[in-house]
Symmetry: C2
Subunit: 223 residues, 2 copies
Amino acid sequence: MTRTLYDLAAADGTRFSPYCWRVKLALAHKRLDYETVPWHFTEKAAIAASGQSKVPVLVDGARIVSDSQTIAAYLEQTYPNSPALFGDAQTQALTLFIKDWTETILHPAIAATVLGDIYRCLCPEDQPYFRETREAAFNRSIEDIDANRQQAEAHLYAMLKPLQKRLSAQTFIAGDSPSWADHLVFGALQWGKLVSATPLLAQDDSISIWMDKVLSTYNLQTV
Amino acid sequence: MTRTLYDLAAADGTRFSPYCWRVKLALAHKRLDYETVPWHFTEKAAIAASGQSKVPVLVDGARIVSDSQTIAAYLEQTYPNSPALFGDAQTQALTLFIKDWTETILHPAIAATVLGDIYRCLCPEDQPYFRETREAAFNRSIEDIDANRQQAEAHLYAMLKPLQKRLSAQTFIAGDSPSWADHLVFGALQWGKLVSATPLLAQDDSISIWMDKVLSTYNLQTV
């Protein structure tokens, strides 16, 4: 059986989606093989069978699953004998707070820093779509966002403080080994790292060290 | 045996310390009786036996314990038959991230909003100490901080987004019942609520509803 993940790709093939990274880590965590199909923002028809228009989309035999959290829950339920992604009910509740922190604080802070870099990474057919949707969401032009990069970076570093502090004291967000909480936050930072024209974090930053450890835990390549 | 908690008090007796609130919730969670002694910033001599100069200080029979996290760990270890404050290792790791988020993001955002209100709440002998230490920490005068309250409030609301979102979806941060993660965050919000001259949150805000539920879970009075 082939397991296929539709994975957002830049013009040079870089896979930068934070939501797709979560799922790739979850698949690695569950020790499940898969192939990826590079996908671009404007290729809505290719994933129409999922009933929605965004990646990640996982095709697992006859099942088509979208939305990273739904995919993670699907994997946990479908492959109960693989290593657990989630812990008990209390762990899951705390992890959902970390998910909300990632999506309401970290994602906007990273986007405000690298939105122009993402735009410039995209294949030409994706650029008008990206400009239109993101400029509407931010209510600012990409050029305006570019011009405010220094301020956005300072805000991002302020927002990263709790993560930086915690990862100076423990190896993974979930403790001695990574779990879904790590995958959620890693996706955000990996997205920023892969698209940013200049390094966002020093190599000896506790967050950089953690990112390398997440990848090496799953035998994934350090980018 | 008398169990005594040294508890920071304002001029009118209001107990507003975020760190003391954590411990009061932890004691209630463990179903342990205690008495509080109102304490003021300048009464360092009263807690000298703890070997440091800050509250909370818990005197439990012959044991004197300070620092809220150390007190929580002490209670968990000393009273293993009372309801657990912490969960398994993974839960504890995630809770420590929430602790760092509370202390590096939430506390500064609340302090920047209500620092002047705290100053005005204090008994006169505490005010010079508070002004000196806080103005040094913020590198601004209390009057300057007061003048920037509107901006500070806007920042605080932005920082509360993930909490607001999560508590719209689940009853407590730790899920169906509160635990140490809830106590850590509650302490911060209760501190802001008790000292602020104007309400920080609407009564129907998911955070306000959660705060009431935390108090009622432990049969503590809604303030």
